[in-house]
């Protein structure tokens, strides 16, 4: 038998507010540490290749997700690519509307089997095309801190 009493006046409804009150500090891990060091110090993109199945990962990793082989060694790739997909984002994280929409793209990165998500800059939404070649725009070296935002975005070539 179900509950024998229910709330039947809306003024009796109540809720309790709370949150998850902790903070986090993430290390980058062995793979991303190398990638972001290189990006920060030299403005280069570091990839790695799985020797057993040939997949090229960008950013560099220490293991292959497809065969669980250990990946040793890294190499540079150009930081250029083509737009694989894009979206025009109109909302902020708090669900309010943006004054100006932003373009987020998934970039097929040259010489790798990987794609990267980032902002597109220097282009209007109506001018973006799937397949369009783009390249990464980096912050100046002294402003880089080993962070995904050391890449300002990607712009059309």
């Amino acid at each position: 038998m179900g509950m024998t009493e229910r709330i039947n006046r809306n003024v009796d409804l109540s809720y309790w507010e709370g949150d998850i009150p902790v903070n986090y500090v993430y290390t980058y891990g062995l793979g991303l540490e190398a990638f972001f060091r290189k990006l920060k110090d030299q403005g280069r993109f570091l990839a790695s290749r799985c020797e057993s199945c040939g997949v090229v990962y960008l950013p560099a990793r220490i293991f292959c997700e497809r065969c669980l082989a250990e990946i040793e060694g890294t190499f540079q790739v150009p930081g250029t690519g083509t737009v694989y997909a894009f979206t025009v984002v109109h909302k902020n994280m708090d669900e309010s509307s943006k004054k100006e929409p932003v373009i987020v793209a998934l970039i097929d990165m040259d010489e790798t089997d990987s794609r990267m998500v980032h902002y597109l800059t220097g282009v209007k939404p109506e001018d973006v095309k799937v397949g369009m070649p783009v390249k990464a725009v980096l912050k100046k070296k002294k402003e880089r801190r080993g962070h995904i935002e050391d890449i300002v975005g990607f712009k059309p070539v």
């Binding site: 509950m3 997700e65 025009v88 984002v89 909302k91 998934l106």
Partner: protein
């Protein structure tokens, strides 16, 4: 050949946009009472319990702590799956197939209305170093995926909108659905842009609800119900979690989960064998992508079929007669459960105005939602 597993008892609440009159415990209790009473059992008759729960959706850590009392599962074998309900259903099937468990209860709950910061929470699921700091509101992955789907000419924008029109119309004749509406393709296409091409009406709005199922072995089914629905096959899979290396077009996890379930069910030609399908439609185009991944339509055909009414009630293959996520609401980990609920009613012949004539084999599919790459599938049969 594995032994058959039956769905004997079904209990569910209404799926509403809010549920302020009940705590999460009380909501599950309501569904559990219905499920147990339908088959005349009490918790003491149950051999094991499988709950579905994901910590930050409930706002707890170790949320499995709070799953069992409202099922009467005190001092019983209970476990929790942080996945979709169909994952839990699959675990329930495994329990019974070991031969050690005869009656198994499977549960899922959504209290989506209790989460104040869902976009923040979804962003919290992205890679903390690579993606999260970009601070892009959560629907961007759906925007990217839909953009690619359209760019590859798998469907037109209007065909995607036709999914919304159909599902919200189906929900109008589903008494437990929250978001039934009579909308037009134009309304969908012109609705507020969120992450273009995704617009407001392309998105399944959140809803609350609870589902409890009673599963049992073949030998016990007869004593519990006159209308068992058989679980013929289950399957689940996961693609790469990284945005960098995951598949963006095929819904590959759904393809693999479907293939696994078909193999177990002995289904060789899904498009012919499946009578009714309930697939994930958290974003309009996902229904089309999932139908193709499940081999119910050839690549690029699902949109046209939808436009032509083939997936409507009365069509060749009714899809989401319940109203789906677009019509019933996005229920997070309970999403697959709402789909199984509809199929059980369909296969029992109890779906009322939504009844698909002669429905014998049904398919339910769940995708765990943005930004997950996990999917699960169940193939159910009336005999």
């Amino acid at each position: 050949m594995l032994e058959k597993v039956a769905i004997a008892g079904l209990g569910f609440t209404e799926f509403n946009s809010v549920s302020p009159g009940s705590s999460y415990r009380e909501l599950t209790y309501e569904a559990a009472v219905k499920a147990y009473e339908e088959v005349g059992i009490e918790p003491k008759d149950v051999d094991s319990f499988v709950c579905t729960s994901e910590d930050f959706l409930e706002g707890y850590s170790i949320s499995d702590e709070y799953c069992n009392d409202q099922l009467g599962a005190v001092l019983k074998s209970g476990q929790t799956i942080p996945g979709d309900f169909i994952h839990s259903l699959s675990v329930g099937v495994m329990h019974i197939l070991t031969g050690l468990f005869d009656i198994v209860v499977v549960q899922a709950l959504s209290k989506a209305s209790n989460m104040k910061t869902i976009p923040e929470m979804v962003n919290f699921a992205f890679d903390p170093v690579l993606t999260r700091p970009l601070d892009i509101t959560s629907y961007f992955t759906a925007g990217l995926e839909m953009n690619r789907y359209l760019a590859e000419e798998r469907a037109t924008r209007e065909q995607c909108a036709a999914v919304v029109v159909k599902n919200k119309a189906n929900a109008l004749i589903n008494p437990v659905a929250a978001y039934g509406a009579d909308v037009t393709i134009e309304q969908v296409v012109d609705s507020e842009p969120i992450a273009e091409p995704v617009r407001l009406l392309d998105i399944a709005p959140y809803a609350d609800g609870a589902v409890v199922l009673v599963l049992c072995s073949e030998k016990t089914a007869g004593s519990l119900t006159e209308k068992p629905v058989w679980i013929k096959g289950v399957g689940w899979s996961t693609d790469a979690p990284s945005l960098e290396s995951r598949d963006w077009t095929e819904g590959i996890a759904t393809r693999l989960a479907g293939d696994m379930a078909y193999k177990m069910a002995g289904i060789t030609c899904p498009a012919k064998d499946i009578d009714v399908a309930e697939v994930n439609d958290e974003i309009s185009f996902k229904e089309l992508q999932h139908l193709e991944a499940l081999r119910l339509f050839d690549e690029g055909d699902a949109g046209k079929a939808t436009e032509d009414g083939k997936t409507a009630l009365g069509g060749m293959l009714p899809v989401n007669p319940s109203g789906g996520g677009l019509g019933m609401g996005h229920l997070f980990e309970c999403s697959g459960a709402a789909k199984v609920v509809e199929l059980v009613q369909q296969l029992r012949g109890e779906a009322g105005p939504r009844q698909v004539p002669d429905a014998c084999i049904g398919l339910a599919q769940a995708w765990r939602g943005i930004p997950s790459t996990s999917a699960a599938v169940a193939v159910l049969s009336a005999d």
